[in-house]
Symmetry: C2
Subunit: 377 residues, 2 copies
């Protein structure tokens, strides 16, 4: 349980297998986001057929609706959603720190106003551990103090140091919950913070590892507006210091090129809502770049959306029909493009893994990125 086996590396890129209570996850892998215990618009079967191995839920949203006690009384997130594979819950840190003006940060935790009914609520490291324990995902995330993307050294330092202090409390509470329930059903992963400041990132990582060992380490507070070269620099900075035998999860990333850039810098796991958000807006990802499914060019086309793709959408429907669904505003269109976009990222992970295993990742990745960026954007 909670094991990670590194199977191959090429440069900084890694291929491995993470074993969780609800099954294995072959890495590198993209994890679809099911904010409200549903990957927007998709059934558990739809998600399974994309080849996704692990999905996310969100503590902030599930705490508000339906409430962790409801999920627990129904047998936990797996029974609730009928998703039987591995799951991870985000801690809600990112969400409460995004509620500008609606929240008050104290050392104890964050007081915030529900965006649903306006009620005043409090999340503390201990509370967040309890909620995630009740939700019952395989992986719980530590409660972190997230600062804006361009935060100053002092602000980023304050958030990073509080994240470390909160990590102590999360760890203590999670150990208490695990001990009182016998078998270890859930593991806790810490989150590295520190903004765009190298010194803070290294101190965050050092302080985090000092509090370990961990079965996984997440990198948070990136992909929040900073330039891509900064994101890449931070990943390159952390890579040699991160323990080789621990999976690394880059939170909130990414778009297709971000996955390959992250994998090239040693990242194993990714999550992002862009696949489903773009799907809902009719933007499909292809190897040649993005495609607007509503575009007049697709009218009457009998071609598949992406001839290279093996998803339900691309193997079943002609482009002209997908366009028609968006024109007549039928929700089937949103579903079908979301399915394709998720499969696109899942398959990108599978392809990267295969190329790492046979030592061709660098060349393949370079060519892939060249083709994608040269395409229609």
């Amino acid at each position: 349980m909670f094991e990670f086996r590194l199977e191959a590396t090429q440069g900084s890129a890694r291929a491995g297998t993470l074993t969780l209570p609800h099954g294995p996850v072959k890495t590198p892998a993209f994890m679809p986001v099911g904010t409200h215990a549903v990957v927007r618009g998709l059934s558990a079967g739809d998600v399974r057929r994309t080849g996704a191995q692990i999905i996310l839920g969100n503590t902030y949203h599930l705490h508000l609706r339906p409430g962790e006690h409801v999920v627990q009384s129904m047998g936990g997130l797996h029974r609730f959603t009928t998703w039987s594979g591995p799951m991870l819950t985000d801690s809600g840190g990112f969400q409460v720190f995004s509620l500008e003006g609606l929240r008050r940060i104290e050392e104890d935790g964050v007081e915030f106003q529900s965006h649903i009914d306006g009620t005043l609520r409090m999340l503390t490291p201990e509370r967040v551990m309890e909620i995630q324990w009740q939700l019952g995902a395989d992986v719980a995330m530590a409660f972190d103090h997230v600062v804006p993307g361009q935060a100053s050294f002092d602000t980023a330092s304050e958030g990073m140091q509080r994240t470390l202090r909160w990590l102590d409390r999360c760890k203590a509470k999670h150990e208490e919950l695990s001990a009182s329930h016998g078998a270890a059903q859930q593991t806790l992963w810490p989150i590295i913070q520190g903004g765009v400041h190298d010194e803070l990132r290294l101190r965050s990582l050092e302080g985090t590892l000092h509090r370990g060992p961990w079965t996984g380490v997440a990198i948070g507070g990136l992909s929040v507006g900073e330039p891509k070269p900064v994101l890449h620099r931070v990943l390159e900075l952390l890579h040699p210091v991160l323990p080789v035998g621990t999976p690394r999860y880059l939170m909130g990333v990414g778009f297709p090129p971000d996955l390959l850039e992250g994998i090239a810098r040693g990242i194993d796991l990714f999550d992002c809502v862009a696949a489903t958000r773009n799907g809902r807006h009719g933007t499909a990802w292809l190897e040649t770049g993005r495609l607007n499914v509503k575009g007049a060019a697709l009218k009457g086309s009998v071609e598949p959306l992406d001839p290279a793709c093996d998803c339900e959408t691309c193997t079943t429907y002609p482009r002209g029909y997908l366009r028609h669904l968006f024109v007549v505003e039928d929700i089937l269109g949103l579903r079908l493009i979301s399915i394709h976009n998720i499969r696109f990222l899942v398959r990108l992970g599978e392809q990267a893994r295969a190329h790492i295993l046979d030592g061709t990742f660098d060349r393949w990745s370079r060519e892939w990125l060249g083709r994608y960026h040269a395409g229609r954007n």
Copy 2:
């Protein structure tokens, strides 16, 4: 091709098999409505898994978007939608006559303003035959003059007589199209009109049969606001005059009890948007009546939506999760309740058929209706 084999009767209720170019249809049967070449929110696979044998498309809507030439250039409705089973297209009569104020009725046809872009368009019996031929469904419907549910004798008489004159023109055009294309790929069904006036209904039927033979006969202009006993009276009036060996299609009906009441009066085929419309609004049909899926009573429930149902929704998801999907407004909820409601009507047809075949329809139907009406409404 276009054969109907009557396999059993009990009272006026009938069980048979209709053979169409794209496959057989065991009757009695409910036909889901795919107005825009999509059963609202459902994939062709979703619809297939409900056990539906035949689906509808709508000439009016498909003429406007994407246009019959686009559908034809993509290989017809079957290739366009990926639905490989039997299909029927409505003639657009009901739609253009519902465009109060936006249309002008002449003997030649109906001039109307598109509700999409305001352009002026004309549908004539000949044009409607051409459009349906290009769409390529197994069954095309004649262009009929539909009058309001409570139309006077004179108004209903005018509509009925025009429907007969238009039927001559539809038949001539359809025979011309069939002859010029060799093999018979599509059949034409006439529509009985005459409002709630017995004399007119009988004259409509007589005039229609006189112009036959037909491979199927539809009864239109009902379920448009008239009281249920009137609907039942008209069906009882027509039953002994309708040819035994021809399938009868009651257009725009119905809700679950309407299906059983129609079957008891000799109807073989039904269509209605209520299954998906109710599904979108979170109303599920159960054998004990309707259920509001958003209701607080479902919160936390691990029970299936309908323990008696074998649909994807009922065999997979707990009630508490279905309610949650409506609370967080995820479109998966609309899909799952639509799937259940369609399966509910399809299964009702299957059950009725089995009971007609073994001679227990009357008792079963009476008990079923008693249970449904006694339930929560």
